[in-house]
Symmetry: C2
Subunit: 369 residues, 2 copies
């Protein structure tokens, strides 16, 4: 918002106190909505504030300079450890620069995301960090950007919205993770991902509206094609958006004789449910099924065997996007930056060769461990 | 805040548009800070808004009725899965009642908690839910309560602040968990907890300012006393506030010949680090060390053996406290309620008898599994 020239000097708490014939401390408590104030004093202060057109400092500041000192963050799912770690990165960067953070959750639903954005804008945040739940419907984000309020995107780029964006190298690391499985000898590899979809089958990549999800699938498919796997798209499973759905998908995948010998899970919540279903079916990791999951979550290092993971720089992701936004909030004008942070893979014990196959395509029965 | 009688009818967006000689849509975009507006139109609208003393609706509403439709939540540590699950309970209850939620994090630091409370009050939330980081310094919370703004406490009661409070039966469930270990034959049981403390030793219960922490320790000590354990206080370890500190405590506890045969961990982040250190030292669960942790976290069910946990009703805790607050926000007047939710214990495979002891008090060497 642009600076407007005030017609006269600002009305202060002292002015209101004088007009209301109360102490400055009482006026401050009544105006600030804290502490004990008698009903009479409260009414007098409010009437005086109204008469003098008193505006609280925070509001006055926000109406003249647009600065509230607050960064709003809209995350996809605060229960996903990926996001809570990213939020710590954001909070640490914000605190270091003297900003506060308020959070709202979208639950990965576009309508809830729009409501959360409206809510935070209504609370006059200086800038917004959003993990957009999809790329189809971004009018609400484009409007914010056009209004001049700094906006930065976390983890997911939007092709049609040129703002500061920090992502990880999703396509590249999916290539590297899939190659680990291919190099171990696997030719029947499933990819399970959380994205709202009608049915669990991937018909076409254009049905995926979340950039990080699409890029990982692209990387996965590219390596499978290179390895001579026919029609690898049929091994992609969408819709693992809850533990229940993930268990349904996992059971479907693993209960057939033609089950995959390796699975790549697109986040740690999915990886966890896959691991549980594998155990419940009496299958062993990696004897029967090799498993790699995105995100170095708590549970991945304490299982037997520990799980090979894609270790995204989640804290750095949050910290970097907050730093870009803060530089802009402090007046830096520059073209939008699109940072892509490199991701590593931590190889643990969950990848091995595929179980021995008998000729003719059918596999030996699962051995329980 | 009380209703004040406006001197005249409110200035509307239409009034501002007429004065600025722009369309209502343009005025709305300029005032709302969204969409495209030319610089000229923006300036005209802002000047007209200033001249007419226009106040945005949300603000007008908030200044006259005090209703913003928003619940503010201050949690101890959003990275702790306990809190992210509680927040989902709060969010679900809020959404069902038509409220939005904004979050701020205290990091369990009292100064950060005060700043977070100020921040949310400044954002004119209708009511606040707080997990107070300590019971010594509650002036900021008492001020809010006295100002008449609804406040509810999550997970931790404050003896000196009589407001709606939802906790779990910390003392009782600590008794039941400790009894499981005592009944398995353990007489050297350690309790490891996250609370800021000088040093890791418990001198006196009065040094513990977080009610949930103190009540659990009380329960633990009561059972130990009943079992004839001498001076069980010396087996309590405080200060497990980070993975690093927890590892230091665990290593100290477990590297001595006189190590405990069982440990009770006060949250799942502590339990996880204990489990890792036990593994790293080549000790087995439950062969060498029996382990119970508070919170049925992801990792506890996929380890070998799976871990016996105190399964707090975390989602219900969040949901109940939000429902109490919302009833009050909707005008219910009643004495404060203090709900205590019952907690269950899920017995899995991490508790066994203590390792065989040789006479004279020294124990057989740890066997690696």
């Amino acid at each position: 918002m642009k600076k407007t020239t005030p017609k006269s000097r600002s009305v202060t708490v002292s002015d209101v106190a004088r007009e209301a014939k109360v102490s400055k401390a009482t006026a401050a408590r009544a105006l600030g909505g804290y502490g004990t104030v008698s009903e009479k004093a409260h009414e007098d202060v409010m009437a005086a504030a109204k008469a003098l057109d008193y505006r609280p400092n925070e509001l006055a500041r926000s109406m003249t300079t647009g600065k509230s000192g607050i960064i709003g963050v809209v995350v996809g799912d605060i229960e996903n450890p990926f996001f809570s770690l990213a939020v710590r990165g954001i909070s640490d960067a914000a605190r270091a620069a003297g900003f506060n953070v308020i959070l709202a959750n979208s639950g990965e639903q576009i309508e809830a995301e729009k409501a959360a954005v409206r809510l935070l804008i209504g609370k006059r945040v200086d800038g917004l960090i959003v993990t957009p739940s999809e790329s189809r419907d971004v009018t609400h984000l484009r409007d914010i950007h056009r209004s001049g309020r700094p906006l930065a995107l976390l983890d997911r780029a939007l092709p049609d919205l040129d703002v500061d964006t920090v992502t990880v190298d999703d396509r590249d690391v999916a290539i590297r993770a899939t190659r680990i499985l291919v190099n171990a000898g696997h030719r029947h590899i499933a990819y399970v991902t959380a994205v709202d979809a009608e049915g669990h089958e991937l018909r076409d990549l254009s049905q995926i509206y979340t950039s990080s999800v699409r890029e990982r699938i692209e990387g996965f498919l590219a390596v499978c094609h290179d390895a001579g796997i026919t029609d690898p798209k049929r091994h992609v499973r969408l819709g693992a958006t809850s533990p229940e759905e993930t268990r349904r998908i996992a059971t479907g995948l693993l209960s057939t004789p033609d089950r995959p010998t390796a699975i790549l899970a697109s986040d740690s919540l999915i990886g966890l449910e896959l691991f549980k279903v594998i155990q419940a079916l009496g299958l062993s990791v990696p004897g029967d099924i090799s498993l790699i999951t995105f995100h170095d979550a708590d549970w991945t290092s304490v299982t037997s065997p520990p799980i090979t993971v894609v270790d995204q720089p989640v804290y750095a992701l949050g910290k970097s996007v907050a730093e870009l936004l803060i530089r802009r909030l402090k007046g830096e004008t520059r073209p939008p930056e699109r940072l892509i942070l490199p991701t590593s893979i931590i190889e643990r014990g969950s990848v091995g060769p595929p179980p021995e196959e008998v000729t003719g395509g059918s596999r030996t029965k699962p051995s329980s461990d």
